[in-house]
Symmetry: C2
Subunit: 348 residues, 2 copies
DNA sequence: TTGTAGGCGTTATCAG
DNA sequence: CTGATAACGCCTACAA
């Protein structure tokens, strides 16, 4: 097996110095046409490719970006990831992924590992545990070390950095309003425990819509389900004990499961009960009936996050140039209407 | 912002040589207790961490593994990825992902990029296009360069390397047999165009079961759908034109969509028609009725792939030791029974 | 036109 | 016990 060839090999074979080879390969006018051609031919023949690691060491730039997400088997994150990956590749960057599994410790460990030279910057969504603990020292340290960071979706105001989010509150408010506009009076909310930033904001939007419309909030219509808990009795009981004609869910799985319970109880969808879920994933699309969903446009989110990050990484090269202030980009959501609702036409 | 600290900085501050610092940090007995403690204290204070890149350059080992998959927004690949990531992390490796988007060119470009020193080995599933073209030179080259490769799921016999697969043929045969055992006589197959290796094998298993049982194969009951094509008329027409009492689908989406068409035609599931799909993902689990599915245990597959790869990467360190022959691991599948079938109890 | 030397950060060898 | 030196592969300012 022919091991990777280096400048040194070429130099030795051709009986020139390493720097001559290096320059010749870059087509430097310093080198005679003759030598250039000789070197280039040889390099092509042996399929020479510069060693990324050596270049990284020299340039102190790896062209790798680190992505840390709570869970990879999750449609939304996966979609964002695709956006990141595509954009990064287009700009010549590779992506190193670590999964925090919603654990604070894994998040910290992974970041420290990558921060020691493996990457030029991070894109991440906070783990549930990190949000719960409200401990962001590992993120603040990045700033001190001059490693750019972009947070997306699960962000915090405690850390100064670029951010990409959707306006969760406005989205929930819009969805709730659309349900109200379609004549629904008693709208339930299926949400998670509230330490998740996004859930809290979605709840706020839901409340706001109800208040503004004059329907008012009935706290009995809000059910808080454990985050990853697979059990139906809680929600089934909720269906028995409360009266409602529409449901807003903070995620897709809650919506699918709620819809299924309704079907088992022989409720007509969307006539008796309408459903809207956050996250427009495969489940919404292929549900029967199709689930009306708030699309978060994860791919776009990833694209923007990667752009913010790479721009900043590359700005840092222009030494001591004033860096632009941190930005927060808000990705617009859209409501994908399917059979689980019968909405009046939107006003805009 | 305090930039990353290096051995050199420490050496200068403490007025000792770089090599002394290096040794002291490794607790080398060569160094006096005094110096060791002084150095270690200083290092801790300034949170010194060795630079990964420099170490990679020196060791010619990056502790990164490259994963190339056709699509990240795909439950099965995502599951395999999780298995890889977890196992790799446990052994101190990071994962660099590239997505081929089912394109041959992207596969080649990504691999070449990473192969220049960024990774110690590859884990990949072939893109559709690569399988179609049957061009595997980029993979063969890895062998020549001494870069270990593990193929999973979408493999080829053209390349000598470690492989991890499920026995697609046996799985399809088993599923078909179970349908037969439950009394079904006319079993349809929904598959893709046949250049996908796995589809071909699944079809073979389906045929084998029908032949062995004496039912025989009716080619009219096999429908070939475009791989990523989102249209229902083809399959709807199939439902109209053919009589069948069970359906085996080579993937989850086909199954969900077929099931939905059946529901729209008011067919009783599983009484009139039973359904089984490959890939036990979210859609199968949350479908209504739940879809009986062949679980490929992607996470286990990823774990095994990562183990094969890392073992081989690390074996290569033990210079000139005879490398073990290439292995092909077969991950057993299992049938997850849900409401879309009414199977007789399995014989084993 | 070509080559030398130094450096990126680390480690290993060997000399002091 | 400590330090100088060379090496990993590449680049570049400066010398020849």
């Amino acid at each position: 097996m022919k091991r990777k060839i280096t400048l040194k090999h070429i130099a030795r074979e051709l009986d020139v110095s390493i720097s001559t080879v290096s320059k010749a390969l870059k087509n430097s006018p310093e080198i005679s046409k003759d030598t250039r051609e000789k070197v280039q031919a040889f390099a092509r023949l042996y399929n020479y490719k510069p060693n990324n690691i050596a270049i990284s060491l020299k340039n102190k730039r790896t062209r790798n970006i680190g992505v840390i997400i709570p869970d990879i088997v999750h449609h939304f994150f996966t979609t964002v990831f695709r956006g990141i990956e595509h954009y990064a590749n287009d700009r010549g960057y590779n992506v190193i992924v670590c999964v925090s599994d919603e654990s604070f410790d894994k998040e910290v460990v992974n970041m420290e590992l990558l921060a020691n030279g493996s990457i030029d910057g991070f894109i991440m969504a906070l783990s549930a545990e990190t949000q719960q603990k409200q401990d962001f020292n590992h993120l603040k340290e990045l700033g001190e070390q001059g490693i750019p960071l972009v947070l997306f979706d699960r962000v915090t105001s405690e850390v100064a950095c670029d951010k990409v989010i959707i306006d969760d509150q406005a989205a929930a408010q819009m969805a709730t309003q659309r349900l109200i506009d379609s004549g629904k009076k008693r709208i339930a909310l299926f949400t998670t425990e509230s330490f998740l930033n996004v859930s809290a904001k979605r709840e706020a939007g839901y409340r706001r819509a109800l208040e503004k419309s004059g329907l008012g909030v009935d706290d009995n219509l809000i059910i808080r389900l454990p985050h990853q808990f697979e059990e139906e009795t809680l929600s089934a009981a909720f269906f028995e004990s409360q009266e409602f004609d529409a449901v807003l869910c903070v995620n897709e799985i809650f919506a699918i499961r709620a819809m299924r319970i309704a079907q088992e109880l022989q409720r007509d969808i969307p006539g008796e009960i309408s459903f809207i879920g956050f996250t427009d994933g495969l489940l919404s699309k292929y549900a029967n009936p199709g689930l009306t969903a708030i699309a978060q446009h994860g791919e776009e989110m990833g694209r923007v996050a990667a752009e913010l990050l790479i721009d900043r990484v590359e700005e840092e090269d222009d030494l001591e140039q004033e860096l632009p202030p941190y930005r927060t980009c808000i990705i617009p959501v859209s409501l994908i209407e399917r059979e689980s609702t019968q909405l009046a036409p939107s006003k805009n």
